[in-house]
Symmetry: C2
Subunit: 446 residues, 2 copies
């Protein structure tokens, strides 16, 4: 992989000299994932020429990111594209076919085999983010009643090229799932044993209309390499494999990350290529919403205008105190959001965690109060130092409690706890912090 | 899985009535992952009794989170614990043995087989977060020169119980890795073909001292199910499987999440059980650091004290304007951190992204300026509205540029871009925002 990155430069030079045969010699023995990495660094026309010459082009293109696959599909000769689609896993091919223009789709369909066309149409019908939309149709089944040896012979003769074989599914005459046996179990079992006596009949599966995230969680809960997907009658429709589940987890994690900084997420986008307007749309709602949220801080300040006018030194420390509450609060919120996402804590733990958080906040607030009251003493006097110390402890405590509670409240309201973003927590803590600070100041300084 | 959660309550009742035989009857046919889920909801003494009776106890315990495994290990009769360790995958067993007290370790060693003791000692020697520390020793090898049928027969006779068999490694007499063949390829190939003619010889592997994150990335780059780990002489030492890689990715993602809210991360911790002092330590550094960072904002305010005294209405809008810059900046930072982490953008893209960010920031700033200047007009006058609008555009632009550049700068300094946390970006943007706002105000209002 590292060597591959080093190769990119020399390959680029060869390509510029139009020495494509030499490029082919150098890359064709590499792993398909590395070939894909190298090709993507070249001009699209060079990629098209090289792919035309590569034998394993269908495998190589599956290692492109989806966006790059789609761009490439628009440039490939239709015959090459059809050949690739024909040999790709069904779940990968349907993503490309769905994304290309209707004209290319039409040209493609006339060149694909009947079985591939049926596969693609079937998969394209499932709604986005469902198990059906990410499942693969390339799995192996065996009928009931075979011996291990008969099963192995049958697989050897009939397994179509791209079928995954980690798990083999035993189905009855109407394709209802009866059992699962791993290839490992088949190889290790005595050849004359009946498959039925070895297979697992305690079946774990998901439905095609299940949410993709729940399917990924199920796969990871059981440490499965593949999970069978069935319809409501228990008939086997497809499988979701561990690598697809990993992609789903990555996607959902990115969503959580973006939510954490108040960026709306609905579709995938690349920072390099997404339209400016889309980036604007994804960010503007929360920013404007928070502007109005910050008005609360302003109202707090307006209410205490007199005490500020009389003690302008208070303004000097305003950003510092208010900011500290926001910082402590967004730490708490992130810790809770992550702990909820990984299943470390549940709603019922709220009360217990509240007690712990109060202790942590007290320690944090105390340390920060010591730091800030020293500053206050030098800049103001002993009373200012006292106001700052008390305010800091109060503000940090409140920030922590708001930050840790908000994700739980959101979850209780059936909203995503990850929406307790740093900016949202910061804005709420800001307003609360202004009130705490100026209230304490008005009590002690007037 | 859902049904399992529903089962927990009825099982808890049975356990309270000391009806453990009935509990056993109800759970023993379940998947080990589900048994582990149910057991963890019971008292530790009940868990110990039930595990004693379960045949697949070694498999069940691997589905416990590591912390729970370790707690359980302290309570199990030493004979049960030894039996479990003996039958667990080597990478799982070493984690437990390393964590239990020296007394239990000593008692354990006398009860384990020689081969298991050697395995555990070998794995325990690798340093934390290296490939060696997460690799498994339960893989299958074949000598050179076998035919497919000979190979399958050999595996059937010799494969030890826990060995993973997705990939079989071909080694020479000194255990140097020569080739890889998947079980699938072996089953589908003609039985009399030589393994050497079918196996992959373009080897992809990692070294035992490689960082675990790079190994996980390699596995995911190649979509491998297992990656061989070799020493510097090319001798096969172990394998890292996809599920271990998934755990590593989860761990690193959590680290990034916590960094994003300025929580230091070095060790794993549970929000429910981590000592208060540890939680304090992980959070206090950044909070105090940011207190001093916020002083910059204070200095800005002190510099413009006169203009504030003359126009107290400016203070009303201070949190709002300054907060908006921080919010926009932390959005930009998160988008960049995530794009860098997923490989969507690289350092060389900085300049191009800068141009795009300026456009987005201009649109965002414009929208927010419209909102805030309306408020300014009602609260102050047309000049205040103008100051607010110009300040908002300037502050949002600056926040976005700081937020998007900081992750790149950190990467260039060989620091983790994820350290560009929301609180850090917010503090920098706060100080910059104060200066922009009060500078513009001083130019227009005096």
């Amino acid at each position: 992989m590292q060597n591959t990155i080093d190769m990119v430069h020399s390959i680029q030079q060869l390509a510029q000299q139009q020495n494509l045969d030499e490029v082919l010699t150098q890359i064709q023995h590499l792993n398909a994932a590395d070939i894909a990495l190298i090709l993507q660094a070249l001009d699209i026309s060079v990629q098209v020429s090289l792919l035309h010459m590569l034998e394993n082009k269908a495998e190589v293109i599956t290692f492109y990111p989806l966006e790059a696959q789609i761009e490439l599909a628009q440039h490939l000769p239709i015959q090459d594209l059809a050949e690739m689609i024909e040999h790709m896993h069904s779940d990968d091919s349907v993503d490309i076919v769905k994304a290309v223009s209707p004209i290319i789709q039409k040209q493609l369909y006339t060149r694909l085999s009947l079985s591939k066309r049926i596969q693609i149409r079937a998969l394209a019908a499932y709604k986005e983010e469902s198990a059906g939309a990410i499942m693969s149709l390339d799995f192996a089944t065996l009928p009931e009643g075979f011996s291990i040896q008969q099963g192995l012979d049958y697989l050897r003769e009939s397994a179509s090229n791209p079928a995954t074989l980690y798990e083999i599914y035993i189905v009855n005459a109407v394709r209802q799932l009866q059992g699962v046996i791993s290839l490992r179990e088949m190889v290790l079992a005595p050849p004359d044993a009946l498959i039925q006596s070895v297979m697992t009949t305690e079946l774990i599966y998901a439905y095609a209309d299940d949410d993709q995230e729940s399917v990924a969680n199920k796969l990871s809960h059981y440490d499965f390499i593949a999970l069978p997907i069935v319809d409501r009658e228990g008939c086997l429709l497809g499988i979701v494999t561990y690598d697809d589940a990993m992609d789903v987890v990555n996607e959902e994690t990115t969503e959580d990350f973006l939510k954490a900084s108040a960026v709306s997420t609905t579709t995938k986008m690349s920072m390099k290529t997404a339209p400016i307007l889309l980036l604007y749309q994804k960010r503007v709602f929360w920013l404007v919403f928070l502007v109005f949220g910050s008005l609360l801080s302003g109202l707090g300040i307006a209410h205490y205008e007199d005490i500020i006018a009389a003690n302008l030194v208070l303004v000097f420390f305003l950003p510092l105190l208010v900011g500290s509450g926001g910082n402590a609060g967004s730490q708490s919120a992130t810790l809770m959001v992550r702990a909820l996402a990984t299943g470390d804590v549940h709603f019922r733990d709220w009360f217990k965690l509240l007690g712990r958080e109060i202790l942590v906040a007290l320690c944090l607030g105390g340390t920060m109060a010591a730091a800030v009251s020293l500053l206050g003493y030098f800049r103001g006097d002993i009373m200012v130092a006292l106001v700052l110390a008390l305010s800091m402890i109060g503000i940090v405590m409140m920030g922590c409690l708001i930050g840790m509670s908000l994700p739980f409240i959101l979850q209780k309201l059936k909203l995503d706890p990850a929406s307790a973003s740093a900016p949202l927590v910061t804005s709420i803590c800001d307003a609360a912090g202004v009130l705490v600070y100026l209230f304490i100041a008005s009590q002690l300084l007037l």
